[in-house]
Symmetry: C2
Subunit: 169 residues, 2 copies
């Protein structure tokens, strides 16, 4: 079973590392995609190796897509290849988990109208404008979309990802 | 069920956050102890709130002790109260999990002679001098002591902590 993390320079370090390590702990294979292959660096200086690119990703290869926050989503959302992947996941009703600024990518992919979810308080107005019923909860599960607000929500975020993967298995 | 993390200023951020979030995800209550109550700051700038002190900790209240790395263990090991807690956990055969520089605290507590384990490569000579049979593995489980070398080992480290807690439950 394989999961995909889509991120870029300036990611919120704990929002990449905690789900990444959690998925590896559970025995999943995890690919990290960015604009180019190679190391990407978080706001706090952690480096993670992108082993694939937005262009090369084939959505059908994965059971789950994780979109962490930080400043990365503003870079990810301008990649048409990244948006193509998000649209495919949502169309196929596959698991998409976003945290913090992660929903910025989903807004640009045009996949949030009529959905329930949450995100970083500083982008909640943009989420509302995109048609989301925004809730102030540590985690919101709306069908295939799991969303959380911030790093402190990571225990609940990871718990719901693991629950959803358990169901998919 | 309750777990205790003992750390201080200069902790390796991911080595506190990943186990902390993992234990919370599993529904455990987690106390963080330091020399004084209040926020402690990691090498990468993350802050974690110490809600208790080495002096106030009663080892019998906890099922597991986690000792993360970074520069924190050199501060923790000079606290007699912290060493008292480590000694009690080891005497009672309760779960102790150390990663990276964490074993420095256990060396000062004098509890490692004759044990098998691992730690950051830069302190492996000190571990050997303290009587440890050091192994170059992502995680070593020696009875009640679980040990890992570095942040990249966190998936295996957390997996063994959860296995051990599952047995204790």
């Amino acid at each position: 079973m394989k999961a995909l993390i889509m991120s870029e320079e300036g990611f919120e370090d704990s929002e990449v590392l905690a789900p990444y390590y959690r998925l590896l702990e559970a025995g999943l294979e995890v690919d990290v995609a960015a604009i180019s292959k190679g190391p990407i660096t978080g706001k706090h200086g952690y480096q993670v190796e992108a082993n694939t690119t937005f262009k090369k990703v084939r959505p059908g290869d994965y059971s789950a897509l994780i979109i962490p926050g930080g400043r990365a989503p503003e870079r990810v959302r301008i990649s048409k290849d990244a948006l193509r992947t998000v649209k495919q996941f949502m169309k196929d009703d596959m698991l998409v988990a976003s945290i913090c600024h992660g929903p910025q990518v989903m807004i640009s992919a045009g996949v949030l109208d009529g959905r329930k979810g949450t995100g970083w308080k500083g982008i909640q107005d943009d989420m509302k404008a995109a048609g989301v019923r925004v809730m102030d909860k540590e985690v919101v599960v709306d069908g295939n979309w799991i969303s959380s607000r911030q790093p402190e929500d990571l225990p609940a975020f990871n718990r719901e990802i693991m629950n959803a993967i358990g169901i998919v298995k």
